[in-house]
């Protein structure tokens, strides 16, 4: 158990576009204790995704130190970072990002191909994960045969199947109707309460954010402490 799971120290992220500097994150420091369900809110373009991607190890800050699951990410090579992600991060995308030519079960199995699990162990894990999200009867369906809500539940199963240290979700309900969104949020709540998973969810929907334990607002590159 890593506690805090995430520590950000004086993070800044600057983009250079058409000769001008765009400062997205400014000197940002905070940490996330293990077992927290955190919602990060903020207007579009405020840098929420950028922040999440830094924690996910798929992007690097311009300056500052990111420590996630006890690892100082800037010290990792490209290849080690990929292996680190496979072990510690479960990522849920706004547009689900399922592989269209793979069935639900195969999509969920993908992260397990990066482990040393045997075929039968992988199958067991996949079944467990899909049952957990209520899709035990949709294993052999292709993404196009599923509704948006079901696709996102497969996406969630894929994020948890390898039992990662932390789940990161970027607007996971952004493309969903109210009812499907509720299902996903309920699942996040259960994962957090029953399995003690640390979850960081980016959203601009206040009703989604309400379901988290903790809400932080990102505005003009600065994280505001909750009132």
């Amino acid at each position: 158990m890593y506690d805090p799971v995430v520590t950000l120290q004086r993070i800044s992220k600057v983009y250079f576009r058409a000769g001008t500097e765009v400062s997205v994150l400014r000197d940002l420091s905070f940490s996330i204790p293990a077992g927290t369900f955190l919602a990060i809110m903020g207007p579009s373009g405020s840098g929420k995704s950028t922040l999440l991607n830094l924690m996910a190890g798929i992007d690097r800050p311009t300056s500052g130190v990111v420590v996630v699951a006890g690892t100082r990410l800037h010290e990792l090579s490209e290849g080690d970072m990929a292996r680190w992600r496979a072990r510690h991060i479960g990522y849920v995308f706004q547009s689900y990002n399922l592989i269209p030519v793979l069935t639900a079960a195969e999509n969920v199995e993908l992260p397990l191909l990066l482990t040393h699990l045997s075929r039968s162990e992988r199958t067991d894990h996949v079944k467990t994960a899909l049952r957990l999200v209520g899709l035990g009867d949709r294993m052999d369906h292709y993404p196009r045969q599923l509704s948006g809500g079901q696709e996102q539940r497969v996406g969630l199963a894929r994020a948890i199947v390898s039992d990662p240290t932390m789940i990161l979700a970027d607007e996971p309900t952004g493309n969903l109707d109210r009812e499907s969104a509720e299902d996903i949020l309920t699942l996040f709540g259960r994962l957090n309460r029953e399995l003690g998973k640390t979850i960081v969810m980016v959203t601009h929907d206040p009703r989604a954010a309400e379901r988290a334990q903790l809400i932080r607002h990102l505005e003009k590159g600065v994280l505001e402490t909750p009132p």
Partner: protein
Amino acid sequence: MLLWGAYSLRNLWARRVTTAFTVAGMGLVVFVFLAVLMLAHGLERTLGKTGDPANAILLRKGALSEIDSSISRDHAKIIALQPGIKRTLEGRPVAVSEIGLQLTLRKAKERSLASLSLRGTSHDAFAVRPKVRLAQGRLWEAGTTEIVVGTQVAKQFPEAGLHRVLHFGNREWTVVGVFDADGSGFDSEVWGDAEQFMATFHRTAFSSMTVRLTRPDALAQVKEPLERDPRFNLSVKREPDYYEGKAESLAKMIRVTGLFLTAVFSIGAIMGATMTMSAAVAQRTTEIGTLRTLGFTRLAILQTFLIESMALGASAGLLGIAGASFLQSVTISTVNWDTGSEIAFGFYLSPVMVGLALLFAVLMSMVGGLIPATRAARLEVVQALGERTV
């Protein structure tokens, strides 16, 4: 860190129209490549089969073929007695003295004139060459102007069919039989009585002798004394070696032209693979970002797209091989540059060629897929995901 093969195959199937065109184009190149190899090999095999390892052919030293060689009647009698040459039970040497000539005839399809090899020989020719046997009619009567023709001659030249009469050397020659030489070059020859041909064409000497050895390894026993003897001025070769050498220029021409064509076409096929795979990478950029986020490395992405491209190549290879296998029933008749005579030969497919064709196809697709696969591997995760809210 690899995805399953099914992932690549299903992606190819998902783009089946593009896949089909690419596979068809590349398959065509494999087909051409294979056709060239099959043809050159078929030619060599036909000539390589012409002759028996247990036989030796004797020519004048320095002669390139039977046409420019000569062995006098007197010498022929002495030579036949050389130890190492097989004898019949009655003690007669198993040897035949022959004269090689050229004959011009009209071909069936093209109505063009073609040159045929004419072999003046004796019935001993069949004792020396047991694989050659009479298929239709009968043998020529010694001392007459009767002739027999090989199966390919009968097939390609209607004028020289069974019971037809040919005019050459101011005499009439009746085709009384057709012989089958087991697909060898003799099938493209006309055989008759050596004495008749010599009289007709005012020759006093034979062109060559072919002798059967007591054992295949008795060549040296015949070759060394005869080549050393200053009376004869002879060169002794194993029969298949001699005939195989006679197809070198034509086989080389087929290979050079064919492989040049293949090389030119393969550039097109490689570009086809590159375009197809580039489109696949562009279409699946988000997917690449997703896989990378899940923890797949750049190398895994490179491998994935290379494998997909190679699957494309392997399918094309199989298609080309399937197409080329139909060529096996086709026979081609053309002029052999080394002899100036017509020679009929087929396309010959060997397991090695199948392997080569498959390797060639996979190599083309690998080269073609390398740039797109590298580009896919080089993508930055965040850019690939394209989740910028610009």
